[in-house]
Point group: C2
Chain length 511, copies 2
């Protein structure tokens, strides 16, 4: 299509002194040092596996433009692209980036057979990560199916395997700029050569999801990975690998529970009012120690909770997640959604001893810092370490297909005022132990308290227990220095203008 | 009172040749070799601790008469009572036994201080037993508070400690007839001298029940007590001692669960339709291995059950006990009764690993015997080994205060046709592993299958899943060689004349 177009446009370009359009650059170059993009990237911008050239069609313009700038400045090294990028004017860069961003993505999935164990490894890394090395799933940032999220997390699916491998190698060797927050350089260096090949092969094949994900089931880390275990430190429980979910009626329910856990908006839409995931706060699908793992929670209930002043079963505890964190509606006890989630948590706990104090439960509480937590310092931490993914407005980001990629931290798409994350201490603990993804532990205790204070100083849906006034609701349910509910921030009392709780997803949003 | 009476009657007795009345014998003897009973047993038959003479007032006539016969025949050795009993005519024995059975029981509780550890030991043996030695709780046969059950299990409460000790010693030494089924001789021989003193002191003090029973918490037996452990045999889990139930909000709910478990008719009367106890089938308050202990059940759910063809949570499994075994009504999910029972089971499982195959779960299945199970042989086993407690009519027996002592095995006061015990294999397994109490393992596999067949060949309340006809209900829910439902026994089709299921206790019966 570009070819036909190009011929038609050639004359026009030649007789006009005006800057070439994006389409012209793609088809014939800019008339100076820049050759036609199609030479290497294929007639429709679908990439060229043999040359290791990526597909460009359908990628975000801002991402493409940023890459051209990176080539021009040398932050991204490439013998072909560096001179090309330097030979494009800023206006030409923008034009060609915009052109390709609007082109239909027709790149085919690589059609080469992948050896099953390689496929499984790639699928595991892509969709499950390897948390023993602080490797989140690729899709956690690049979106479901590797479809891409915003300008910073480009699509991976159906990029040539050769291209993907080359980029990972470039990050490993320092030939490519470490990127925002240095995320990809650090991640690439944790991958073995076999990992690189497997994950590249998986995405080049189109990131197929199988109904029964045959994850290799990487177990949790032993305690204090990479550190000297203090004497008396306790062993961390390992849940069984996903591959051990039995193939029977019980196993079916466990799988259903896992699917709800990972995508409640899709699989339990009647009960959720936002698009957070259970696994947004319980990382690695509820498996990761010190990230409120489900195996530790399961064996800790029934338990008395100060929050509602009675003994809660595990099922009732699950209901609360829907009411508050998911800003939805609690499934009735006995509902298949609750039974499936309880079965999944039970199965994850296989072999764990019953009791409330399993090492790895909840989040390790950071020390309350000497300097009182501060909104402005928190705002700076947020800008530096959180906004890339969660957005400057805290609203999170969606993947290209509309599915939630990064959860909203405040606003009407986030958890409501009754959720545990609305407690600054709890949020600080989660953040310090787990954020940013792949860089857990990089924030100081002070950073964690500051940024938690900043996040929890924004409005969000009303507390479902709202008792008529913000003041009385605070007195009843938020009487803690760790709750900002009912406190004045930037001239407004938090909770006074909150949207009603219990949002419901539209059928579209549930997808 | 007897004293005043006796004086008045003296002249009457002297001038009439007729046999003396019971009152006369008690007050002045029978005019031949028999002295006044009051001499040793006190003016109102309340016993005499210094002499070691038991109270007689309020004891069952049949029991008292049987003791006089045992003294007369020498099966019970006692220098004073043997000549007395021999000097009473059968009519006189009956008269004096009837007289005392109708006398008001005014015996006081012993008012001597009991050293706390002795009290605790006595209370444990009395109310909890010591199952490592196959010692059921004394109250299991002698009724709540040791108030007595029928003619075979006399009251123990407020008998002089000296008397109770002497009887246990007499059984230990063989000086007293081993009694029905040899139960008491075998039990007495398992008691240490300290046990004897403790349990005698406890009952002489009136068997006081404290709200928070400070049981010493005897753990479960190691596997194969008294036998050589086969290689590879697995360790049996021990639940924590009752004394470890915490003194906080959670502990309160656990205690409530234990109380419901031990006395559902009293503590969950809205949901039970008979007076069985959870601990009727789950011995030692759900602690005993191989008696469907709660700790093993707790860690086995959620689980798929063929009975209802879906994955059941533990709470749903508990509901089934109410629907079928208790012939009642399932408490709704989330009901405090279910939460308390679930909390109790959870607490019993403290430290147990999650999973369906904990050693000691359920009942060990007896081998299906070579000779097919037979009703008539089962009837003989029943008469020999079961009827003493469960009654010839299978209706169980109540304690003197009306509380259930021995559960009904069939009839309208028993579990209904939907209960697990209606499955012959299941009943045989329970019986072989646990019955008769204190003599578990004494029945052969063949005995167990025969007697289970006999028991399950009697009618009982209808299956709540009744689908319009016995034949269709059998086809749907009882299509097994181990169910007698819908089969013809003694000319009647079982299930065709069953009382409606879901009985409700009258307020009186619930006490």
């Amino acid at each position: 299509m570009i070819g036909a177009w190009a011929t038609a446009l050639l004359g026009v370009a030649a007789c006009e002194a005006a800057a070439p359009t994006g389409a012209q650059i793609a088809a014939i170059g800019n008339g100076r040092a820049v050759p036609a993009c199609t030479t290497c990237h294929g007639p429709s911008g679908a990439g060229n596996a043999a040359l290791g050239s990526p597909r460009l069609a359908g990628l975000p313009a801002a991402y493409l433009e940023a890459q051209l700038q990176a080539f021009a400045s040398g932050r991204r090294a490439n013998a072909v692209m560096q001179p090309v990028a330097r030979a494009l004017s800023p206006r030409e860069s923008e034009a060609v980036a915009t052109f390709y961003s609007r082109e239909a993505d027709t790149a085919p999935a690589a059609n080469v057979g992948i050896e099953p164990s390689t496929f499984n490894l790639g699928e595991q890394l892509a969709n499950g990560g390897r948390w023993t090395q602080q490797l989140p799933a690729c899709v956690q940032c690049h979106g479901r199916g590797g479809l891409g999220v915003g300008a910073n997390f480009p699509p991976l699916t159906r990029q040539p395997s050769s291209y993907l491998q080359a980029q990972l190698h470039a990050w490993q060797s320092g030939m490519r700029d470490p990127g925002p927050m240095g995320l990809m350089a650090a991640i690439a260096r944790r991958l073995s050569e076999r990992d690189v090949q497997a994950v590249a092969a998986y995405f080049s094949a189109g990131a197929p999801i199988r109904a029964d994900r045959p994850f290799s089931g990487v177990p949790n880390p032993p305690p204090d990975v990479g550190a000297v275990s203090p004497p008396g430190s306790r062993r961390i429980f390992s849940p069984p690998p996903e591959s051990a979910i039995p193939h029977n009626e019980f196993g079916e329910v466990v799988r259903r529970g896992r699917d709800i856990f990972d995508e409640p908006a899709r699989n339990a839409s009647a009960y959720v009012g936002n698009r957070l995931r259970c696994s947004s706060c319980h990382l690695d699908s509820g498996r990761l120690a010190n990230s409120s793992p489900m195996w530790a929670a399961y064996v800790a209930y029934p338990s008395y909770r100060a929050k509602n002043r009675h003994v809660n079963t595990f099922a009732e505890r699950l209901q609360d997640c829907f009411t508050y964190s998911m800003n939805g509606k609690a499934p009735p006890l006995g509902d298949p959604v609750l039974v499936a989630l309880e079965s999944y948590a039970y199965w994850l706990a296989t072999g764990a001893p019953i009791g409330p104090n399993l090492p790895g439960r909840g989040y390790p509480k950071p020390l309350r810092p000497a300097v009182p937590a501060d909104y402005s310092r928190g705002q700076r931490v947020y800008g530096r370490s959180c906004a890339l993914c969660h957005g400057g407005d805290g609203a999170g980001q969606d993947a290209t297909d509309g599915s939630m990629a990064f959860p909203a931290l405040w606003g009407d798409r986030s958890f409501n005022w009754g959720a545990g994350m609305g407690d600054i201490g709890n949020a600080a603990a989660f953040i310090q132990a787990n954020m940013p993804l792949s860089q857990a532990g990089s924030l100081t205790d002070q950073d964690a308290w500051d940024v938690a204070t900043f996040i929890d100083s924004h409005d969000r849906p009303q507390d479902p227990r709202f008792s008529g006034s913000v003041a009385s609701t605070r007195a009843q349910f938020h009487d803690s220095p760790d709750s900002m509910y009912g406190r004045r921030v930037a001239g407004k009392v938090l909770g006074e203008s909150s949207p009603a709780p219990g949002g419901r997803l539209s059928p579209k949003a549930a997808e």
